[in-house]
Amino acid sequence: MNVNRFSELVDISEKTGEPLDRVVLHWEMLDSGKSPKEIMEKTSELLHVMEEEYESHKGKTFKTLVGLTGSNSKKMYEYLPHAFIGEKVFTAATIAVLMAENNASMGRTVACPTGGSSGVMPGVLLTLEKSGIERDKLVSGLIVAGAIGKIISVHASLSGAQSGCQAEIGSGTAMAAGAAVHATGGTPRQVSNAAALSLKSLMGLVCDPVGGFVEVPCVKRNASGAVLALMFSDVAKAGVESVIPFDEVVDAMAKVGIAMPESLRETGKGGIADTPTAQKIAKEFSKKFKL
């Protein structure tokens, strides 16, 4: 089974009637030699880390390494009853920021797919869990997300230094959207559409961290990723299709990454990092800690 496109996994699932996460587990077994049971257990452990970190930090402030963020998730947590966009969506945004602030303060995090984008997936999965989606459905969703990320890593990249933020928050959002569709009972085709729609929306997003550090704008971008993932999960389940198939969107993202100048690929030299305020922050910080 020499699969290396997402559409092939969807086809196999549709033709055989095997759920998409089972197809992914078998693909993974042939590829890595790991049993489905082992992969499911390890995936469940990763979800457990997300749950634990959220539970032990909710409503708290963080002391981040550079100090440019740290109290935002607390503010959002307290504002939750007033959120106009609704409890579920605002919760997803809040959890995403919390996990990203935890990451920025040397907390334990799940690099799903990277440290900088590690808030998106828990933002989505833990919101689903709070809304009553069973835990084993979330684990299946995370396995499907793994396949989405694996396809992106093979044909494009998951690294901001290589392809910009579209490869980190963009990929994380596509993965989380697919996970949400699968966990809530959507079809394999809807998973693929949700991932494609998400990645298209974040196509071209640059990686421009202030001073090169994983705080601004990374932390808040996790919130937009989580919200976008939930929205496109519903859009796809409503029957909306992506005109461009997911695999082609991935190839397009790879090309955009190659076309991106180095200043917009995690060097801290372009985009937001190139603003007068960012330059001032970076200069003061590096002066303070010069070796």
Binding site: S105, G107, A111, A147, G211, V214, F285, F289
Partner: protein, 221 residues
């Protein structure tokens, strides 16, 4: 192809897989090679490690690795205090190591009067490359138990070393043999294994006539 578990994980200490996790894994290799926490360590930071060692917590990750903490232990953020309780003194210095990866560190350790020096690069996603052990060049990713043997450059030396290893049912994954000096009849072998060798195998190797010195580092987890 990567495993999906590498895509949706690993569980680690933030903020950055290349600046935090990778740094910690390099330092963990030094810890495994030393067989524990040294009394003194100097970290020589090269390139991007030098620029961002505070903002990415690289310094704490490096200290944590030599304290023997696991890579997703929340105590990494307080590694400086743990080093103090373990009695490890540390120092950070800038260095230019030339044409190496931007995220590279040289770690010089002293434990019970014995010195070791490794150079390692963090090459992305938490993956590392150890490029030098005690000035001996190598290319290790730290995923395997590793033997570094200095041996006599005489016929059959490698054979008897390999026999001693395989006699204990340990399989060799990769092996590199280099001549150090034809005149001194010295060579070295870097041997990566599929499983951990027992103490008796390590002792048997140390007592071989062709083995001048032997270092062993467990795999990094």
């Amino acid at each position: 192809m990567p495993s999906i578990l590498e895509i949706i994980g690993p569980s680690m200490i933030g903020p950055s897989s290349s600046h935090t996790l990778g740094a910690m894994r390099i330092s963990k290799f030094a810890y495994n090679l030393d067989g524990g926490t040294p009394q003194d360590v100097i970290f020589y930071l090269h390139g991007s490690f030098q620029e961002t060692y505070i903002g990415h917590g690289t310094w704490l990750a490096l200290i944590a690795g030599l304290c023997g903490i696991t890579t997703d232990d929340s105590r990494v953020a307080h590694a400086d205090k743990i080093a103090k309780t373990l009695g490890m003194k540390y120092e950070f210095k800038p260095v230019d190591l030339g044409e190496v990866h931007p995220n590279t560190v040289k770690i010089f350790t002293t434990k019970n009067g014995e010195h070791h020096e490794i150079i390692g690069s963090s090459v992305g996603g938490g993956r590392i490359k150890i490029i030098s052990i005690d000035s001996l060049r190598c290319q290790l990713d730290g995923e395997y138990p590793t033997l570094v043997v200095e041996n006599s450059d005489v016929p059959g030396a490698l054979e008897i070393i390999i026999k001693t290893i395989s006699f204990s049912d340990v399989n060799i994954a990769r092996l590199e043999l280099n001549r150090e000096s034809r005149y001194l009849k010295r060579a070295n072998a870097v041997i990566e294994l599929d499983s951990e060798p027992s103490d008796s195998v390590l002792n048997a190797l140390r007592h071989l006539e062709v083995v001048k010195s032997l270092m062993y580092a467990k795999a990094i987890f």
